[in-house]
Symmetry: C2
Subunit: 341 residues, 2 copies
């Protein structure tokens, strides 16, 4: 199995992608890891003896985070991102992982790897922590690739999310929830009301109904299906609230009074442990879902073992033959839709 990696994407490139690649190459001899990047920039971080199953592939250009995606993809054909995606297209690699420009990765995956047959609008699948049980996590799909989804897109995302949870997390018949403004059937806007109908009628998935943003952190379901705009609202609100609370807590422990300062010292380690469960690095990388092969997205600020875990995630996605399964699922769906017409 061959995994291509963008060594130049993200805030901590090339060190962090390289470190993850080295660790995975050493631990999994069955993997062949291809690291696309500027050989010169990588040189400083290379160990004396590279594992035999880790290959550095020169890519002289880099696509920056702030660059306009489509323009950057067109102009930088020798970038680590374009070359890595091309390797997947040419069947020189089975999957690609990057922490670089999200828009470019999404557009590049579509241009190079190509849309999976039967998928109308590829989506972004985001792995999220479960606050009530750190051994669990959930996924949000579409986590923000699209801004104006149609009900049929959400129907497809539910099938994709369900197949992902079975293949990667070993959860058969994952609980699928529809992100909505109320729990009762009949709630929602035009989009979610119509999507509710489609999901209710989809017999291959375990649709549990509407879920509200207030309960998604508390193990309400395994897969939250949403349009990309609403999902973006939720993700950014959770992010903003988390930061605001951590700041408020930290300010209190540092400055409120001598008693609170002492408390801060006493509770520091336990808080670190408690919040470590929410570390997104080992929860899983995002997935550009709906293209022909696995394309994964690490967070731009990913550190530590994020790439290592993303490589294992990609390995699982390939070895489980998830994409063959999805191809079958969408052929069956197209067949059913044809018969209903």
């Amino acid at each position: 199995m061959r995994i291509a990696i963008d060594a130049m994407g993200g805030d901590h490139a090339p060190e962090v992608p390289l470190r993850g690649a080295l660790k995975a190459a050493q631990e999994y001899p069955d993997l062949e890891i291809q690291l696309y990047g500027q050989t010169e920039a990588l040189a400083a971080y290379l160990p004396d003896n590279l594992p035999a199953n880790l290959q550095i592939v020169e890519a002289e250009e880099v696509i920056g985070t702030a660059e306009e995606p489509v323009k950057a993809l067109r102009q930088k054909k020798k970038s680590s991102m374009v070359l890595g995606l091309k390797a997947v297209r040419k069947d020189q690699a089975d999957a690609f992982i990057s922490a670089g420009n999200s828009g470019a990765l999404m557009a590049g995956a579509l241009m190079q790897v190509g849309r999976m047959k039967g998928i109308s609008r590829p989506a972004f699948l985001v792995n999220m922590p479960c606050f009530t049980d750190f051994n669990k996590s959930w996924v949000l799909i579409d986590g923000g690739a699209n801004v104006d989804n149609k009900p049929a897109h959400l129907h497809q995302y539910a099938i994709m999310g369900s197949a992902y949870m079975a293949a990667v997390k070993g959860i058969d018949q994952a609980r699928i929830g529809l992100l909505n403004n109320g729990k009762e059937a009949g709630k929602g806007n035009q989009l979610t009301q119509a999507a509710y109908e489609l999901l209710s009628q989809e017999e291959t998935i375990n649709f549990i109904g509407n879920v509200e943003p207030s309960e998604v952190l508390n193990d309400a379901c395994d897969v939250v299906v949403a349009d990309g705009f609403a999902a973006n609202m939720v993700l950014k609100s959770l992010e903003g609230a988390s930061k605001a609370f951590v700041t408020l807590l930290s300010d209190t422990l540092k400055t409120a009074s001598w008693k609170s300062k002492v408390a801060g010292l006493l509770v520091k380690e336990d808080l670190k442990t408690a919040f470590a469960g929410l570390n997104s690095d080992n929860i899983g990388a995002g997935v550009v879902f709906g293209v022909k092969q696995p394309v994964l997205k690490c967070h731009g600020s990913a550190k530590d073992d994020a790439f290592y875990y993303a490589i294992l995630q990609a390995r699982q996605m390939v070895s489980s033959q998830l994409y063959d399964q999805l191809a079958q699922d969408f052929e069956a769906l197209a067949q059913r839709e044809k018969e209903e017409d």
Copy 2:
């Protein structure tokens, strides 16, 4: 000035509404407060000497939180909510405050008080805390009255929000932000892109551009304009994240280790003080905006002085002649739109 109050709405009725009404009546002799509710239920909480400017008005029925709004309004014509709203319509009161069924209050305000001339779709204005400065707060409009807003609605909400901040909070030219999935102009879905154009061209307001959900808690702007569905996603995400963090923190302080237990005792008071700044009771009640007179909504779980502050808020809304101002604003807007046609 006459303020009508629903004594029977909310989790802590009739005690909490009565207590707020008593306090306001005692402190503000210029107010005439009308308390609509079941005289018998209220009797247990009445003081020996009622202030002369507090009047109890018998309303034998109560609309429950779980009741279907329109049906309840039709069937319970003698409910505290219907009678209070009717008093406003008949010019027996200048404003109405309730902590009861939100849907019923919204529908009842429309049916009884009536839509303000020129307003297409009344909205719900929600007051929210600012985490970086507890002396500040911001408003979200539409906070969830509608699920499928049009760009023109958002345009109106911006004007309403701006007028509200000037009249009630004394902020002239409040900073108006459009809730969106990115800061740059051009971001967003069809709705927010079109709304951005309208807000940019509206010269009577101080439109500062897009704001993301991750920054709204940090004084990004004074008025966040949003469609009701997206706003609901944000409000419920903030609520869910807040609860999840408080639980995680509280569990750590209570159970992680003896050191953390000691820390919990030491920091308890300071944390209480820190989080008290986020207490929604004194930030302000919600407003059913776009009807002819002020209709305010306290949170169902409102306690302490929530009603007292809501009465002062209503008083400010009436005395500032906000609604006359809005009537002028919307006449001018209609005139401009006519000229542009």
